[in-house]
């Protein structure tokens, strides 16, 4: 949670909000890991937040849908909701690949 990043790197800070180990959440996390390994190797950090454990965190990032992926860094904040099954959309959404 704490933002103690060294901004020298082109760091990607990603947060995945889930609610327990639902199939959708599991799929989303697996997909995310796969894309990051492929495209952002060594430049990313994934933080998984389980709202069942920490419900108070939902308000901060305005989470409604589960699962939601939030790109905190680089700015601006982007949100991708769903199980991230469409690689193209995820990459465009995260601005990894230009649209």
């Amino acid at each position: 949670m704490e933002i103690d990043e060294i901004t020298e790197d082109k760091k990607w800070e990603l947060r995945l909000y889930v609610a327990g180990k639902t199939p959708k959440s599991v799929t989303a996390l697996a997909n995310l890991k796969k894309y990051c390994e492929e495209h952002l190797k060594g430049q990313y950090r994934i933080e998984v937040i389980d709202l069942l454990v920490q419900p108070q965190l939902a308000e901060g990032d305005q989470i409604l849908a589960i699962p939601t992926l939030v790109r905190k860094v680089p700015e601006p904040i982007r949100k991708i909701i769903g199980d991230l099954s469409n690689e193209e959309k995820v990459l465009v959404g995260l601005n990894i690949r230009p649209a």
Binding site: K24, L64, A65, S85
Partner: protein, 578 residues
């Protein structure tokens, strides 16, 4: 017109949560269904958000039930600012853990959708918000914004259905607001399909440039409720709904009487004045003194120590106070004493219904014994005759319920037509005084008579109504050979009569004296005749006596002669014989 049952059924009925909103609890007969969602829908700006926030705030303040307000539209700061004008201090309530405002922000531009998802995040947030303060009430304002932020309609619909079920399970009383859709649909996204328990429609109509807010309960499962459209008002105290159409004619009546403040008028009304809780109409053409009569009535009520509200529709309070001072009525002192309250509004200020709501509010707050409305005629500017009549019926009903004596004044423009149709209200009121001009002999005077006075003996006379520096008074008009005389003609006639009377007494005196004189003459005559008679009688008597005397003497002489013949002495016994 639904008839409310007085005896409550023995079996348990639907539990209800009181909203604390004035009037709404009456219409819903207790409030919103406890533990179930209620939909409030209507066009933009019709008061949905306000009504729902009031539900939460009143719940927190009046019923000690914490509430969550989930704002999909406004940020919590904005919301706090918007309702601060109504005296709701959201910040304080939040600090006291009685209220939680949760702003749910959805920005389509920063959201990308890919693959399957659900709204578990929203559920978790709501759950957390509810549990953090132990909320009993929740508002989702407005849920439809979800549809603007998310694409997958199928998911949204399933999730909303799930949300409503979840809210029911959670046992919180919920309000969901929704904006009115096109055509017949109540909400844009058809939220009404999901809410089956209670649907309230708010409406904001502008007719003749005058806006009226109305409320209607479209459905309320498992309970009786008012079905009409009810007007409501948003002012500095929040929302007030007016359940105005309880048209049962089962009022309490009083035999107590209240003085009009004009002794002569009381005299005309059986000597005691109006009935308490009754309604009176004073009608007349312009300048006939209607306001003066009502000010007198108000003044009298205050003198008795009762409270009075004066609804002035035409003049400002200061104007009335000044004008009444000129006829010796000091209203200012009653205002200072807190007995009299002026309420001056132009009828065009808002619609009829709004007036009614506003009047209700003032009366409920001030609790007067006497209410004056001067004049009701101007209501015609904001509604048709039948609408005005309707409104006045409801007002009279309400006042009668509260046992408040009311006096209306009405201006009649044309004495012939309006004698019967003063806003059609003349048939509703209990008593009706008519002040009219009597034009005669080159001057205009006021005549007052009692057209009707239900349930009391009243005078059938026209009285002359005089306004002077000393106040109002009623004088018997003079009924002469030339008809009714008023004003200077009446005075003249009275003078004429006085002169006549004086002359009359004078002439009677003279006649008396003449008779006395005549009697004296006659008496003198009688005396002289009497003496004459006596002298004649004496004369006659004298003859009689002489005759008798001669007879005796003759007798004596004959006896003497006889004796002498017999030779007897004078002492010899007479032998008798005649």
């Amino acid at each position: 017109m639904s008839i409310t049952k007085q005896n409550k059924p023995a079996y348990p009925t639907l539990p209800k949560t009181s909203t604390g909103i004035i009037g709404l609890d009456e219409i819903t007969e207790g409030g919103l269904p406890t533990g179930r969602p209620t939909l409030i829908c209507g066009e933009a700006g019709c008061g949905k958000t306000l009504m729902s926030i009031e539900f939460i705030v009143r719940g927190a303040i009046e019923f000690n039930e914490p509430g969550v307000f989930v704002a999909f539209e406004e940020k919590s700061d904005e919301l706090a600012m918007n309702v601060a004008s109504l005296g709701f201090d959201l910040k304080k309530l939040q600090e006291e853990k009685m209220l939680r405002v949760d702003h749910v922000h959805i920005d389509r531009s920063e959201i990308e959708e890919t693959g399957e998802y659900d709204l578990e995040g929203l559920f978790i947030r709501l759950n957390y918000a509810i549990d953090s303060i132990g909320a009993k009430r929740i508002v989702l304002d407005t849920l439809e914004n979800l549809f603007a932020g998310l694409d997958n309609q199928a998911v949204l619909r399933t999730e909303i259905r799930r949300l409503f079920n979840w809210l029911k399970e959670k046992g919180v009383t919920a309000i969901i607001t929704g904006e009115k859709g096109d055509g017949n649909s109540l909400t844009r996204q058809g939220l009404e399909e999901y809410v089956s328990d209670c649907v309230i429609l708010l409406d904001h109509r502008v007719i003749n440039q005058i806006s009226t807010r109305r409320l209607r309960i479209i459905k309320y499962r498992g309970t009786v409720h008012g079905t009409n459209e009810y007007p409501f008002l948003i002012d500095e105290d929040g929302i007030s709904v007016l359940p105005v159409t309880s048209l049962k004619l089962a009022k309490q009546v009083s035999t107590e009487r209240v003085s009009t403040g004009i002794p002569a008028l009381d005299e005309m009304l059986g000597g005691k004045g109006f009935y308490k809780g009754g309604s009176t109409l004073v009608s007349g053409t312009a300048g006939t003194g209607k306001t003066s009569i009502s000010a007198y009535f108000a003044n009298e009520a205050c003198n008795r120590g009762q409270r009075c509200v004066y609804f002035a529709m035409e003049e400002s309070p200061n104007q009335i106070i000044r004008n009444m001072r000129s006829i010796g009525v000091d209203l200012k002192k009653h205002i200072d004493a807190g007995l009299l309250q002026f309420n001056a509004t132009r009828p065009n200020m808002y619609g009829l219904e709004m007036h009614l709501v506003a009047i209700h509010k003032v009366i409920k707050k001030f609790k007067p014994a006497v209410v004056i409305m001067d004049p009701i005629t101007n209501f015609i500017n904001v509604g048709s005759v039948s609408e005005v009549k309707n409104m006045l019926v409801r007002l009279i009903d309400f006042l009668q319920d509260e046992q408040i004596t009311v006096m209306f004044t009405a201006l009649s423009l044309n004495t012939i037509v309006n004698e019967q149709t003063d806003e059609g209200v003349s048939s509703l009121v209990d008593s009706w005084l008519l002040v009219r001009d009597i034009e005669f002999n080159g001057e205009r005077n006021r005549g007052l008579y009692v057209m009707k006075a239900r349930g009391m003996k009243h005078s059938n006379q026209v009285r002359e109504f005089v306004i002077s520096d000393d106040g109002l008074n009623l004088i018997d008009v003079y009924l002469g050979p030339d008809g009714v005389l008023t004003g200077s003609a009446r005075k003249q006639q009275i003078l004429l009569e006085q002169t006549g009377a004086a002359i009359h007494t004078h002439s009677i005196g003279r006649k008396d004296r003449e008779i006395a004189r005549k009697r004296k003459v006659l008496e003198a005559k009688i005396a002289s005749l009497n003496s004459e008679y006596e002298s004649v009688e004496e004369e006659l008597n004298k003859v009689y006596l002489e005759d008798e005397l001669r007879k005796q003497i003759l007798e004596k002489n004959r006896e003497e002669i006889t004796r002498i013949r017999r030779g007897e002495t004078a002492t010899a016994k007479p032998t008798g014989g005649k």
